[in-house]
Symmetry: C3
Subunit: 301 residues, 3 copies
């Protein structure tokens, strides 16, 4: 059933990786007129609204066109999350997207295509950092998934405590790396196993499956579906319920559940980076990425 | 869905811990006129009827008002279980309650409120012992859950081989520790993961969720629902089916499934006790327990 | 529910182990006129048709009456699988049966009844080898389960990547070892946990449960049910979809999912063999096997 669902969705595959829009700068946090239009904005790619009265921050990913997880984006994400983590008055974090139809399209392919091993390594470290920050957060984290969420976007979602997805059959979510000829690393896999179990993960990863919201709910990849315009309000309501639990008890419990999975990466970060760099810089893999890029460009054109 | 269910049940929360009735003695097995009314009674808090012809013992928890797991209760429980375990003619154990509406309300809060570290340590050792005896039993163990079963009562249930619950929507079951500001230890968590999987456990423990029978069945926290007056008869019928399997093959299989989880505690009992004592004797935790006690008293009054 | 299903199925129990037909030779691959009737046949017990144009091999188990996993059968199976594994043009393997009503009845009881410890050890090593080859295969492996598949037949099925079963309520599948007084070893258990999770495995193994196709689908022991005459065509169609994924990415992913489970056996093969030999040569176990054999003979007569 799941297999059939995946294949049904295949044509809707919006892709694991996506082209960054236009920004070619590697500066981490650059001033931006858009960012300054709002009081709480901390960067051009990530906008954070923190409500002191509720203790809840809403993080809006606003990197056109599809919130690709570029090095810049990831760095801003980790800085913003770290800031909130340090602020004891911030107890909950809701993550959502301002981009139409997409939560996040996943890792930015341009950060690993024809890039130096050093750059690839720096990029991968930033991907690790994003996951470590999110999966290990003491805050209650809720993903308000108001669009498609393949690959890295899916990872970001399953690193949260709770997932609410827009009930739009055109959206999809999943770790679809193998469809592009690349491989989800062990900590993507571990996070997925912790969410949907071993067998579902095995088939989903081998086939690079993308699930529509209804199938994602069925296998437990998301926790709840709501109409698209209610994703954020439902996240806010759900947050209230999670925050009714005493923080310290919830945090110790969360850590007990997630620490073994986190420790596996923290004690192997360098090895994991080396493995990624060796893999992604292979000629055959670069060729696959090139073909994928060409396909994306043709689709746009 | 599970979350909504938990929140729906919240008002019905009968509590993780409960006041012991009146007994303040710490003597382990004290004579009791009630106990002697029945042939097989071994103690005032636990009544055991062992049927030699079937090889099945029925253990009735009869400690008013709510079968709180006090030090006395736990000690009696472990002695009774050990006795049956040593008796090679006893192959199956059914656990149920004589108290209306409750299977067991869980750990007795009075054993950890304003008590010495020594007392808390002794108490915690008895909790460990109860779980070790039950989860590692060579007998077929069936929980006949004829009432609510929060926290320690839930632990007792999921330590059995099979769970039959009364189909009464007013009853609930779950590890709701975080709702009181305390934390289910790792072996509660492991037992729950072995029963309902990682993701369900994560959310259930973080939110301290209590499930009504129907939701408990859906997530696999119990195996079967029957009308309230058929819980014990169904347990007896089910036992017959389990006893049709050759003991030695079933026991080796059970041990293979459970030994790794048991070993984690047996090789860390002292550390686990120290951790509990340090946690529970903290001022902030004692304050939480005090507030909970006051709330319980008010509710009664 | 699962329990009730198992008990319903009990009368349909076709057995974990079965009598080998007539062959008493221990020669591994002996010439056979039947085998030579077809071009691709490699042995009397296993027929392999490899289609170079699709890269898919179909392996038909054709050892009457019930494809018992005898030492000869297992040896042929491992040789045939190894051959395909070495052939880089072979990317997918479909396993099915030519015998009516049965996929495989499991381990051949005659290989462990009144046999020398040496023989039992050699036999067990062949069982290990079959599983290692199949569970660790780089090919896409699909079980086309066109009949009952107890015990070793179930193991073979769950070692594949995908399971399609004939939707015939008279067929059953499961690890029913305990029903015969023997025990599924840890790597049978691990494979089952990886397929259906911890709790379902615990109950299934303790009770030696056999599931009809509908219940097997419900718990995830098989992935898909189709009418009996469509099992093989569906397997072929499904294979096409799996082969659409780039081999190297799928293989790395598969290895990441399965290697820890495989390593547990490869680093303990000798211990596991010794454990099996000690167990199976016990008087009490031999007596159980003898009674089971007598029962099988009576049923035939």
């Amino acid at each position: 059933m799941a297999l059939r669902a995946a294949l049904r969705n295949k044509c809707g595959l919006s892709g694991l990786l996506s082209l960054r829009s236009s920004c070619s700068s590697h500066g981490r946090v650059c001033a931006s007129p858009i960012a300054q239009q709002r009081n709480n904005s901390t960067s051009p790619k990530i906008k954070v609204d923190f409500d002191q009265s509720t203790g809840v921050a809403v993080m809006q990913m606003q990197s056109p066109p599809v919130n690709s997880l570029s090095l810049d984006f990831l760095t801003e994400f980790s800085i913003a999350t770290e800031k909130l983590e340090m602020d004891k008055s911030c107890r909950g974090l809701i993550i959502t997207s301002t981009q139409p139809k997409v939560f996040s399209a996943g890792l930015d392919i341009m950060e690993m295509y024809r890039k130096s091993p050093e750059h690839c390594g720096e990029f991968w470290k930033a991907v690790q950092e994003m996951w470590l920050k999110l999966y290990g957060s003491n805050m209650v984290t809720i993903a308000a998934i108001n669009g498609s969420s393949p690959a890295g976007g899916c990872l970001m979602s399953i690193a949260c405590d709770y997932r609410i997805m827009a009930d739009n059959p055109r959206y999809s979510i999943g770790l679809n790396e193998t469809q592009l000829g690349i491989v989800a690393p062990f900590w993507f896999k571990d996070t997925m196993i912790n969410t949907v179990g071993h067998r579902t993960t095995e088939m989903a990863l081998e086939l690079g499956m993308l699930y529509n919201p209804s199938d994602a709910l069925k296998i437990g990849l998301v926790d709840q579906l709501v109409p698209e315009d209610q994703v954020l309000t439902t996240a806010t309501q759900t947050m209230t319920k999670w925050l009714a639990i005493p923080d310290h008890a919830r945090q110790i419990t969360k850590s007990m559940m997630r620490k073994p999975t986190i420790d596996k990466l923290t004690s192997n970060r360098e090895t994991d980076i080396q493995y990624f760099v060796n893999f992604i810089t292979k000629d055959s893999i670069q060729k696959s990425l090139g073909m994928y890029l060409a396909m994306l460009k043709k689709r746009k054109g």
